[in-house]
């Protein structure tokens, strides 16, 4: 047996401080809310104390953002805005390693992913949108599209920095100012991003970052001074926000949950399909709204595929997120771990056959071994509910029509996967799958130039590409 020695990234690189403060009107200040303690989910130790906002802080931040919009940012030539945003992109890249380690500490995701995906993609997002700031007239939304004003943005804990980038970059490029609430369990990288915003010398009030729990988010999206609400998170909360915003005239975009089907035909490139399935559901511990959580495999190849899948999943290394060889890190919170555990129990109770990787798990921290359920039917909870964890449900189909029918049989519609060597079938399937992103012979690819977002209860509005600008312009 060849045991890989631990290869931990040094946590010193994260420059972790005992306490963090919120960022309001260009200054780091104490919030009026009860400070929260953010925990390393891999060890359950407290990482830092973070000040949170209360309603008067939200009000101050929205007013600061309004002032910044009216006096500076909204009237600044696009070319000047662009240069500020380019600065942010570069500074994220300069501090990439620090941000990656901090992200893995706070979120529990493997350093391999924060280093190779989250941070570079966040930087790329600012870089891409910076270039739009003085070219909005070419976006096909009219000759001189105007910003909306103040954007209130609420983001989840699964990609803390990246989601902040997805929200802030297009808002700023379009001339809006921002009040952003990071997730309660993962506020740290957003506050380092605030430092970058300060170092990049953005005018005070253009970007405000207010940590806190759901009540701060509710306060923010309900604030009368907000012109635009953008939310990424669960469908349940998305619905509450849509209700809150109803009748106010605030522009709203929602990026919500999913239950993506990953459809494998018998002529698929099987080894790469296995990689795609693994990447689809075990990337980021399955804490991905577009995760390929339902594997639909053609009956004739199901046994072979499942055998390969089990072998491959067995090689996934679960453990210390800071270890460069870790493939699957920690579940972000006790609460999420409990939810995953309970859904997995329901899968067993409803008669699906559970297979769990024999990988060793750390004794401390929130971990869940990669799990694959075979013999799943559409009626089971594990086939319908978003688990948001490293749990795959395998269903079978016989014909392309059946695959489409099963894939679409969900109120969600965020993403889908297709695996086949037959080009015409890919396009036929892509036409019929009711999902905002369709990956064919690949999965979980993201790029600032490629619009991302859902159909149906997976939300509305797009992030990325020309289509993503519409969310932040008065058009």
């Amino acid at each position: 047996m060849w045991e890989y020695a631990p290869a931990p990234e040094s946590r010193d690189i994260a420059n972790l401080r005992p306490s963090y403060r919120m960022f309001l009107d260009g200054e780091f200040v104490e919030g009026g809310g009860e400070p929260l303690k953010t925990v390393n989910p891999a060890t359950e130790e407290v990482l830092a104390e973070v000040s949170t906002a209360n309603s008067s802080d939200v009000d101050k931040a929205v007013k600061a953002a309004r002032r910044a919009h009216e006096r500076v940012w909204g009237r600044m030539p696009g070319a000047e805005r662009a240069k500020y945003i380019f600065r942010i992109a570069r500074m994220i890249a300069e501090r990439a390693r620090e941000l990656a380690v901090l992200e893995s500490l706070d979120n529990g995701k493997p350093i391999r992913e924060s280093r190779d995906v989250d941070v570079p993609t966040a930087s790329a997002h600012f870089f891409y949108h910076a270039g739009w700031a003085d070219k909005l007239g070419y976006a096909g939304l009219g000759p001189d599209p105007r910003p909306l004003g103040v954007a209130g943005q609420v983001i989840p804990w699964n990609f803390p920095l990246l989601m902040a980038a997805w929200k802030i970059a297009p808002a700023l490029a379009c001339g809006n100012t921002v009040v952003l609430k990071p997730a309660e369990t993962t506020p740290l990288t957003a506050l380092v991003l605030a430092e970058i915003v300060q170092q990049a010398d953005l005018p005070p009030g253009v970007v405000n970052i207010l940590p806190g729990a759901g009540d701060v988010g509710a306060e923010l999206v309900g604030h009368a001074g907000v012109d635009k609400v953008a939310f990424t998170g669960s469908t349940d909360v998305g619905k509450i926000i849509q209700r809150t915003v109803a009748g106010t005239g605030k522009k709203l975009t929602l990026e919500l949950g999913g239950k993506a089907a990953n459809v494998v035909f018998d002529d698929a490139p099987l080894d790469q399909a296995v990689e795609g399935i693994v990447n689809g559901i075990f990337f980021n511990q399955g804490h991905v709204c577009c995760a390929g959580s339902r594997l639909l495999v053609q009956e004739s190849v199901a046994d072979e595929l499942l055998a390969k899948l089990h072998a491959r999943v067995s090689t996934l290394r679960v453990g210390d997120p800071l270890d460069k060889n870790t493939d699957v890190g920690a579940i972000n919170s006790r609460e999420q771990l409990d939810k995953i555990t309970s859904l997995v129990e329901s899968g067993e109770a409803e008669g699906a056959q559970r297979w769990t990787s024999p990988c060793p798990l750390p004794e401390k921290g929130f971990f869940f071994a990669p799990t694959v359920f075979a013999g799943v039917s559409q009626a089971m909870r594990i086939a319908r509910e978003e688990i948001f964890g490293p749990v795959l449900s395998v269903l079978t189909f016989r014909t392309p029509d059946e695959a489409v029918a099963k894939a679409n049989n969900t109120p969600y519609g965020l993403s889908a996967g297709i695996w086949t060597d037959k080009g015409s079938r890919i396009l036929w399937m892509a036409d019929r799958l009711r999902a905002g992103v369709v990956w064919a012979n690949t999965f979980n690819r993201f790029d600032p130039t490629a619009p991302f977002g859902g159909y149906q209860e997976s939300g509305f509005g797009r992030e990325g590409g020309r289509a993503g600008l519409e969310a932040y312009l008065d058009v």
């Binding site: 060849w2 890989y4 020695a5 990689e275 012979n441």
Partner: protein, 322 residues
């Protein structure tokens, strides 16, 4: 096809059916799952980010040394050159007796006798390239004679090349027959079949050629002659490791894999070992099932080994140049 498949293979019916005639062979090879280039390259690049440190690294270095087929395949090769290579093979690091010997020395057929003599009693194999290496462009009788020359001189391993022209023009039966014939000529010597993946153009072809070689009785499948660029690459090796793993699933037999050419550093070698470990499985992490066809790699392994043990970096003057 001219000759029936060797009776001893005892292949499962689906596989022995595949070799019944040219049409069956073609149907079988083209029925293998495709390989998506981007997917396999991404997987290879992803695994290449594994960070192997400390004891795991030292183990990898020693294991890699024991897997080296120390190679000289030059027109300028002489008995003296081969003898000094053999000395290096026996004791790669003269200052450190605990360093394991390499797996084999790999030479042209006319140098086999010299190598056999120099390695007698060491347990180190003598591999010989054969079959009109590196191009394979000659008649079958010449290829057989070439093989027999090597085996008669004492080669324990034969590295043959396939007829890429025949393969690329779809004459799979011809390639199959040649491998079967050469295998026969090898007698007890192990047969490594060089696919020359750099000339096969696609990963689909690499997978087909791997299966073709295994169906014909290869003990090892080998990427390259080292005379064509690109030689071994990580993704190509991934495809071949997947093929031997699938072959094992189908037959219970383990065929070996040998990437050759272009692997020069310890870092590269460890990436290959990680791929072996995580794609084929740890049963392949032995010189019986995995080899590196290399020459300069060995010295880098030795330098890195010293660095690991001594706690400071070593230099080229502290390892022997042969």
């Amino acid at each position: 096809m001219a000759s029936p498949p060797p009776a001893s293979t005892g292949l499962p019916p689906a596989l022995s059916d595949a070799t019944r005639d040219e049409t069956s062979l073609r149907r079988f090879l083209h029925g293998l799952p495709g390989v998506d280039q981007v997917g396999v390259e991404q997987r290879a690049a992803g695994l290449a980010t594994r960070s192997i440190k400390k004891a795991a690294k030292l183990w990898a270095i020693d294991t890699a040394i024991g897997m080296v087929d120390l190679t000289t395949l030059e027109g300028a090769d002489t008995d003296g050159k081969v003898r000094s290579l053999c000395a290096k093979a026996r004791r790669p690091d003269p200052d450190r007796a605990e360093v394991p010997p390499v797996a084999a020395v790999c030479v042209y057929p006319d140098m086999v006798a010299t190598a056999v003599e120099a390695l007698r009693g060491t347990g180190i194999g003598v591999a010989s390239v054969a079959t009109a290496f590196p191009s394979g462009r000659s008649s079958v009788p010449v290829k057989i004679a070439d093989t027999e020359l090597a085996v008669a001189a004492g080669a324990t391993e034969v590295d043959m090349v396939i007829d890429r022209g025949a393969f690329l023009s779809g004459r799979y039966g011809r390639v199959f027959d040649e491998i079967v014939t050469v295998k026969h000529a090898c007698g007890d010597a192990h047969l490594k079949v060089i696919l020359e993946t750099g000339e096969l153009a696609t990963y689909d072809n690499v997978r087909r050629a791997s299966w073709l070689a295994m169906l014909a009785g290869a003990d090892f499948i080998k990427t390259s002659t080292g005379k064509i660029s690109p030689a071994a690459t990580l993704p190509v090796t991934h495809v071949m490791l997947q093929a031997v793993r699938d072959w094992h699933t189908a037959t219970g037999d383990r065929v070996g894999v040998k990437p050759a050419g272009g692997i020069r550093t310890t870092k590269d070698a460890i990436r290959y070992l990680v791929a072996v470990h995580e794609v084929a499985g740890e049963e392949w992490l032995t010189p019986e099932k995995f080899r590196f066809g290399a020459s300069s790699l060995l010295n880098d392994l030795l330098m890195q080994r010293r660095a690991q043990l001594d706690g400071h970096y070593s230099g080229p003057d502290y390892v022997t140049v042969d």
